[in-house]
Amino acid sequence: MNDEDLALNEKLLKLHARMMTGDLVARSELAELALPVLTERLSKKHPTIFDTDLIDTAVTDALLNYFDNPDLYKSEKASLNSYLFMSANGDLLNLLKPKSVERNSMQLDEDVELRDRYAEIPIESFVVADDLNVEDAVSARLSPVDARIRELFSDPRDQELAAMVIDGIRKTEEYAKVLGIDHLDSSEQQDIVKRHKDRIKKIIIRKIDPREFKDDK
């Protein structure tokens, strides 16, 4: 770490400490200081990304997540700059994932799981018949679910998590990537992921009437 980085980290740490004591303006100061640095680092790491919106979304989401849970940052594990960078990088990689292909190629019977109050139970999928137009089938069967998810969860990250819960994805690492906490140790990841999954599932259970998707069958 060069002198410049050290000085930056020192400033960020002071702002972090102020945030933790409830200082009202510290997070704004921190954002103003960190945004250009994170943007530059992320742009350098991904020189082929020309869509600046993706970078902007990743760095701002990383900061907002940090603001929501500043206590998750442990100064003994990484510098705050690195922590924020890893989080932003995780967000960016997630944004770059070919979501539509990945999600739409999943189990076409996933909407069944929405009707199941025990969404944690994985449901085995069927292979789509060869002669079936996968795109049409996916669109016809999953769009209402996706639309409902978007209605229920305004935060794109929550939408992603909800889709994963509905998809029956169980691996903590997958959720950790979405949450940008994959740099944390596994027990911490598990705790955080569980909290988020429980929250998402509660909302789904509370807000979705299992009967509303019956016509999609």
Partner: protein, 149 residues
């Protein structure tokens, strides 16, 4: 920083402020609610508050002061100094949003004396011109057409 990166940082700060506008623990929520109440744009509000849009966006990212706290005055003073905004105007904006929001379910958008939220805002500006410059003055001014107490 170049102007270009300044512009981009401002854009990112704006993005964050937008994402925070539904979070009542932030000043972004105060500003957003005030804009809706007064049918103002960010640009117009920054002019009204005598500040720049950049300062207003930075202010939006701050945590909301706690009006029930004994430190409320100090908290608003800190925000006003940070964003270089007149203390009285800022205090009135916060008070108005809290009052109107609290009452919106009871007496609609005007208070018991018939004064609208916009009028409350104007009274703040008027009081400023008359020389009041402290939170106490702002509170007193607010008391003239108060909706909360």
């Amino acid at each position: 920083m170049t102007n270009k990166s300044d512009d981009r940082t401002l854009h990112q700060l704006r993005l964050m402020a937008t994402k925070l506008q539904n979070d009542p623990t932030t000043v972004a929520w105060i500003i957003s609610t005030y804009l809706k109440q007064e049918h103002l744009s960010w640009e117009k509000l920054s002019t009204t508050l005598g500040t720049t849009e950049q300062a207003l966006v930075k202010l939006a990212l701050c945590k909301r002061p706690n009006s029930n706290s004994n430190d409320f005055k100090q908290q608003v003073t800190q925000l006003a100094q940070y964003a270089n905004i007149d203390l009285v105007l800022l205090t009135n904006m916060i008070r108005q949003v809290e009052s109107v929001t609290a009452l919106s379910g009871k007496v609609g958008k005007s208070n018991v004396t018939g004064q609208t939220s916009a009028q409350l805002g104007f009274s703040a500006a008027r009081d400023k011109n008359e020389g009041s410059s402290t939170v106490e003055d702002a509170d007193e001014a607010r008391g003239k057409g108060d909706v909360a107490d």
